[in-house]
């Protein structure tokens, strides 16, 4: 077994090499490799991908997303673990452990974890090298029933009744449309707000974000959000392509896009900004910035976008927006609390983390 560490520079070279893309299992997709190589927080010699090879075939890999965390005036370079996979037939070769420890060594033991599978959590807990940060609590709002997806997801054998479920969903959707129509007529939910859509962060937005991100753990800047929007890890595509079939993690969705939304008050002053992500029929707010007195207006703007984009569900992770949502009184089928876990390695334990803010897109979560 051989472990190869790919730096940002190595990945740029790999993108031009035919051999790298010939293995039966791919350790990364091309568009993800392009994204890694444009990360504004990565240096050219940062290790971003560890690959375990056996007889020239990939048997495991671990991605690392270089980032910075900010506490008061101090900045710390860290790497977020991402896309950690081991071929199940090599599960007892220690390859998962080797990848983890090599990643820790490559980043002077300074790593972070956002989300993660049950298997990954088990390995991380066993290492005793990570401490949990506060859990990011959010709200999942279901605007549409989507019985078809829910039932067929759990019982694929009922596919023969798909048409029946679909008709039921269509009828329910009409009820939802009607409820939304009357709710919008009764309530001026946007209270004179105006929007501006952006696909890249402009100067005005960049400055607005800077004024509102002082407590953020990762203090995203214009360049960081532009990078996320310009270099997604998931592409909007109808079918899995040849590399998608050889890569274990998500690489495509029927519908996937980011959109920046600037929100202006009645006096045309910018009162908020949020970056939304739509993946199939779900919208998530990955980054949002506003003053607390405008939280209701911003959550109204978010809901307005969700209804206009006809998504079934909306995920919010901004505490101010979550708290303001009930005041809107908008129609929905159900809501439930959701959470996202973050951990930092114990080597970062000396950082005085007391009052900090996490976003729904922190770590690698903006990309999925």
């Amino acid at each position: 077994m051989e472990i190869k560490a790919f730096t940002v520079g190595d990945l740029k070279t790999a993108l031009l090499s035919a051999d790298f893309w010939q293995t039966k299992t791919l350790p990364i997709t091309k568009h993800r490799a392009i994204s890694y190589s444009h990360n504004p927080r990565a240096d050219n010699d940062d290790s971003v991908l560890l690959v375990a090879y056996q007889d020239s075939q990939v048997i495991g890999y671990l991605g690392i997303l270089p980032d910075k965390i900010f506490v008061n005036d101090a900045v710390y370079k860290i790497g977020w673990l991402t896309s950690w996979w081991v071929d199940p037939s090599f599960a007892t070769t220690g390859v998962g452990a080797i990848l983890l420890f090599q990643a820790l060594n490559a980043y002077q033991q300074k790593l972070g974890v956002s989300g993660g599978s049950k298997e990954a959590r088990k390995v991380l807990d066993a290492s005793q090298k990570f401490t949990a940060l506060k859990t990011l609590k959010g709200l999942d709002i279901k605007f549409r029933l989507n019985v078809t997806g829910a039932i067929l997801g759990k019982r694929p054998a009922l596919k023969i009744f798909r048409v029946v479920f679909k008709i039921f969903d269509d009828m329910m959707d009409e009820i939802v449309n009607l409820r939304n129509f009357f709710w919008k007529r009764r309530n001026d939910i946007c209270q004179g707000l105006t929007f501006e859509y952006i696909s890249l962060i402009d100067e005005e937005t960049g400055q607005f974000i800077q004024r509102h991100h002082q407590l953020d753990l990762t203090r995203k800047e214009k360049a960081d959000l532009n990078w996320i929007m310009a270099y997604p890890w998931i592409l909007s595509a109808p079918l899995k392509d040849s590399s998608g079939r050889r890569y274990y993690f998500s690489s495509r969705s029927n519908r996937f896009f980011y959109l920046g939304v600037k929100v202006f008050g009645q006096d045309s002053r910018m009162v908020g900004f949020f970056m939304l992500k739509v993946r199939d029929d779900r919208m998530s707010i990955v980054y949002s910035y506003c003053e607390s007195q405008h939280a209701l207006s911003i959550v109204a703007a978010v809901v307005y976008q969700a209804l206009a984009m006809d998504v079934s569900a909306l995920s919010l992770y901004d505490g101010q927006l979550v708290a303001s949502f009930p005041e809107l009184g908008c129609p929905y089928w159900s809501t439930k609390g959701i959470s996202r876990g973050f951990s930092l390695s114990k080597a970062l334990a000396e950082i005085p983390l007391t009052n900090y803010r996490l976003h729904g897109g922190d770590g690698d979560l903006a990309f999925y």
Partner: protein, 93 residues
């Protein structure tokens, strides 16, 4: 000391997956029984026990060890030999 590690590791595992206290017992590899989480448990417990019982901490997660994982963690006997080597290197140098 390593048998104490195996005792503690076995407490974390179902009875049918218990490791033998035998120096020839394979740990990882084709006939090994440790997945990544269990290997990490073994490493962490070994580092802790070495510090507690022998009073001399060792590091089993550095690049040097990771580059020869198959050999070091192939059997319990290999691990014992490697620990002995690390301890004598510390003593000598």
């Amino acid at each position: 000391m390593l048998f104490n590690v195996i005792d503690e590791l076995n407490e974390l595992r179902p009875a049918e997956e218990h490791l033998e206290k035998n120096l020839m017992a394979p740990l990882i590899g084709d006939s090994g029984r440790l997945d990544s989480a269990a290997l990490i448990n073994l490493i962490v417990l070994t580092e802790q026990k070495t510090a507690e019982e022998l009073g001399r901490p060792i590091l089993l997660t550095d690049d040097r060890t990771m580059s020869q994982v198959k050999e070091v963690f192939g059997t319990l006997g290999n691990l014992a030999e490697y620990i002995q080597r690390l301890l004598s290197e510390k003593r000598d140098g």
